[in-house]
């Protein structure tokens, strides 16, 4: 049983070890890390090399944080915080079995957990801001309406389930990368995913006709 509300520990500087696996694919190993060459240059103070790492990762980190937090502004703050931390740690990075981007995702998830916890302490209902059931104003906004409904459903998931769905469905990470980012086994990842998707199905499919109508 994976604790749903546990806070991820502060990410280690070493690349995380590969999770134990039911079935993993080869993608996601440090050996094919697209950031590794630039990381070595960045470790010697090359800001241009780190700029390339930023370009490769800032979109994914921002998207993950946005879906975890439901706020674009907060997501951009998290992305900035995570990538600045990554820059400060380049000199200490030792390539292990996973990619630098996996470590960045792990730090991002940790930061999101911190923010969600702080939010819970100030509000009894942290999902209220995502819920928008108002009718769409025009065709362009119809897809936004569905997206908002999806965000609202995502926000109701337990944090670890939400993180698993965000990484595997929206970011299309391999199961090995997602499990490494969450510091869990493949079996635990699949359990989180299955429970998360079942909850989403229960929340969204009853409204499917109306939502698909919005999309059509």
């Amino acid at each position: 049983m994976v604790p749903e509300l546990s806070c991820p520990s502060e990410p280690r500087l070493l690349a995380p070890p590969l999770p134990s696996s039911r079935a993993v694919n080869g993608a996601g190993h440090a050996g094919d890390d697209p950031d590794l060459a630039d990381l070595r240059r960045a470790a010697d103070g090359d800001q241009v090399a780190y700029g390339r790492i930023v370009s490769r990762n800032i979109d994914a980190i921002t998207r993950v944080a946005e879906r975890m937090l439901g706020s674009r502004a907060e997501a951009e703050d998290v992305a900035q915080d995570v990538l600045l931390r990554g820059w400060r740690q380049t000199a200490n990075w030792r390539a292990g079995e996973a990619r630098f981007s996996t470590w960045l995702h792990r730090v991002a998830l940790s930061r999101c957990t911190d923010r969600l916890r702080a939010r819970r302490e100030t509000s009894l209902d942290d999902s209220a801001e995502f819920v928008d059931r108002s009718p769409p104003l025009d065709a362009r906004l119809q897809q936004q309406s569905v997206a908002l409904r999806v965000r609202a459903a995502l926000a109701t998931l337990a944090e670890r389930q939400r993180a698993a769905v965000v990484l595997c469905h929206f970011e299309e990470m391999t199961n090995i990368e997602a499990a490494a980012a969450l510091e869990i086994s493949i079996e635990a990842l699949e359990s989180l995913l299955a429970r998360g998707r079942r909850a989403l199905r229960a929340a969204l499919l009853p409204e499917r006709a109306a939502l698909i109508g919005d999309l059509s």
Partner: protein, 160 residues
């Protein structure tokens, strides 16, 4: 790992990863696709999962703005350069100004200690020799001195 695809595993796979094969674990993808093509029950599972996937995919997140990228790159602090083990050790010892005199003092102390220990052995041997009392006493006094003092005595004995 050898896995055998069956309805139970296929259902678990779809339950976790959805209907889109690109999201399935690569190690099981071919087997799962073959199972889906050969088992009618798989189609119902895929339809159900695909309906949820379609709704989730309506949620498209915009990429980071150029402003956010520029702000991040502008905020990068000066580089923290890699420090060698030797530099780390030196820093731990307080830098050259402290480490060098400390090492010099340790060297002198070590030599003195070694020389004194040698003198004791030498002196014991000399004392055991009959008829060498006066020389032994003189040498004992000499070797009871430290290295630096003996060096000074030796220098004084050199004819000018």
């Amino acid at each position: 790992m050898n896995l055998t695809m069956n309805l139970q595993r296929f259902a678990a796979l779809i339950d976790a990863y959805g209907a889109e094969p690109r999201r399935w674990p690569q190690a099981e993808r071919a087997e799962a696709l073959a199972f889906a093509n050969g088992d009618a029950r798989a189609a119902a599972l895929l339809r159900d999962a695909a309906a949820l996937d379609a709704l989730l995919d309506a949620d498209v997140s915009a990429p980071a703005t150029a402003t956010a990228r520029r702000a991040l790159l502008a905020a990068l602090p000066p580089p923290v350069l890699r420090v060698s083990r030797g530099q780390e050790l030196l820093a731990l010892l307080g830098g050259w100004r402290i480490a060098l005199p400390a090492m010099a003092m340790a060297l002198v102390a070590g030599i003195n200690l070694g020389a004194t220990a040698g003198a004791v052995v030498f002196s014991t041997t000399e004392t055991a020799s009959p008829g060498a009392d006066s020389a032994s006493t003189r040498d004992e006094a000499r070797y009871s001195q430290g290295f630096a003092e003996r060096l000074l005595l030796d220098l004084q004995q050199i004819p000018q």
